[in-house]
């Protein structure tokens, strides 16, 4: 199908973009989720603001303790190591299995976090790492932890008129590991089950994120995070076959950490 009619504006600065959003425009980043929604007419916005090339959203930065990716950094840039990976390669590998290269060349990390498909990869992986997002809106800028980011499927803390600027990821300490397991039948598909486990002994952090739950991810922290996440899957209201896949992905990710 073809998209319904909409207006397109191309702001040059974050301030211009915020003005466009205040005027009712919806952000268009890589268009790799919004494009299909427009073509299916699942989304019929009157106006889009193309933010894909905004310099502030294309930047990345590093400190001793964190790395920050602008919201418009693409999956392919992460895959290729064109932006720093604080896990020493795990995030690059995750990026390389998101969709297909032609989609990764356009799709952005910020677009994925804003879209908040429960089966998307960055939501689970960056939540496990303790990431946070920076948001600009009419009232100024604020920071939100990803652990509380999703309130349900395709629902986040992002309010209308707000723009996701960047995501900041704390650097795991030496000896830390991030395990990530995505179960799907075909390469590049959205996951049927996701488990991400961060084990960072030097910071005494063990965080388990179980994704593709049809809603906000299951998050458990602490030494017994694994068993507690398994218990949460048992209590999860979804279908039994899907719960089984969540258990399997979690077992595998915990196994990777133990290995």
């Amino acid at each position: 199908m073809k998209a319904a009619a909409f207006d397109l504006v191309r702001p040059r600065t974050v301030a211009d973009a915020l003005a466009a959003l205040a005027d009712g425009a919806r952000p268009l980043a890589g268009g790799q989720s919004l494009g299909p929604m427009l073509n299916f007419r699942l989304a019929t916005p009157e106006r889009l603001a193309d933010i894909r090339t905004l310099a502030a959203l294309r930047a990345h930065a590093e400190t001793d303790d964190t790395i920050t990716w602008g919201a418009a950094v693409t999956h392919a840039e992460v895959e290729d190591g064109r932006v720093p990976d604080p896990t020493g390669g795990t995030l690059r590998a995750i990026a390389g299995h998101i969709a297909y290269r032609a989609v990764r060349n356009r799709g952005t990390v910020g677009g994925s976090l804003a879209h908040a498909d429960p089966a998307a990869d960055w939501i689970s992986a960056l939540t496990a790492l303790g990431g946070s997002v920076r948001i600009a809106g009419p009232e100024g800028e604020r920071e939100e932890a990803l652990t509380g980011w999703m309130s349900g499927a395709f629902a986040t803390q992002l309010a209308e008129g707000e723009l996701l600027l960047s995501v900041t990821i704390p650097r795991p300490r030496p000896g830390a590991r991030l395990a990530y397991r995505k179960l799907c039948r075909k390469e590049g598909e959205f996951a049927m089950a996701i488990a991400a486990v961060l084990d960072d002994p030097a910071r005494a952090i063990r965080r388990v994120v179980v994704g593709a739950t049809d809603g906000a991810p299951i998050i458990a922290e602490g030494a017994d995070a694994g068993p507690r996440a398994h218990a949460a899957i048992d209590a999860w209201p979804g279908e039994a076959w899907k719960a089984r896949l969540l258990h399997v992905s979690l077992d595998r990710a915990l196994g990777d950490i133990a290995a």
């Binding site: 268009g31 299909p36 894909r52 297909y100 290269r101 032609a102």
Partner: protein, 153 residues
């Protein structure tokens, strides 16, 4: 009005924002080598080169491509890697109806240039986003592996 470069020629398009790049290429510019299958990013038939990298033309809007450099299958006529791939696709029976072929070739060229050491498993992984309903993929994989091997010498 949207100005972009298509196959080396600066082109001005008068299309509304809702027109996706593939429709603009096909309907306005008559470049029908870019095919449309699913129109939601899954099948790969519409894959073109956008600012030097493969992209889906069905979910990029032409007006959002102002200033971009676009190369469609027609723009690769004199490209040496594409010439090698065309010959290999012919030799290995990598197409039947040809519907997927423009997208396959643009993806294949990206694989050859970006991952010169790719083995069969990697080629298959990289092709996961281009669907072919005719060949069963074996001929396509063989053709790409042959070009990779020939270029490694």
């Amino acid at each position: 009005m949207t100005t972009l470069t298509v196959n080396g020629i600066e082109t001005t398009l008068d299309v509304p924002p809702r027109t996706h790049l593939a429709d603009a290429l096909r309907e306005t510019l008559g470049l029908t080598g870019t095919h449309l299958g699913c129109e939601h990013g899954v099948c790969g038939a519409c894959t073109v080169e956008l600012d030097g990298s493969p992209a889906r033309a069905c979910i990029a809007f032409a007006a959002a491509c102002a200033g971009a450099v676009v190369r469609t299958i027609e723009g690769f006529e004199y490209d040496s890697v594409m010439a090698e791939l065309r010959a290999a696709f012919t030799a290995h029976h990598a197409l039947q109806c040809g519907y997927c072929t423009p997208g396959m070739l643009i993806t294949a060229r990206d694989i050859v240039l970006r991952i010169p050491g790719a083995d069969e498993a990697r080629v298959r992984r990289e092709l996961a986003g281009n669907l072919c309903r005719c060949t069963g993929y074996q001929g396509i994989v063989d053709a790409i592996l042959a070009v990779l091997a020939a270029r490694r010498g």
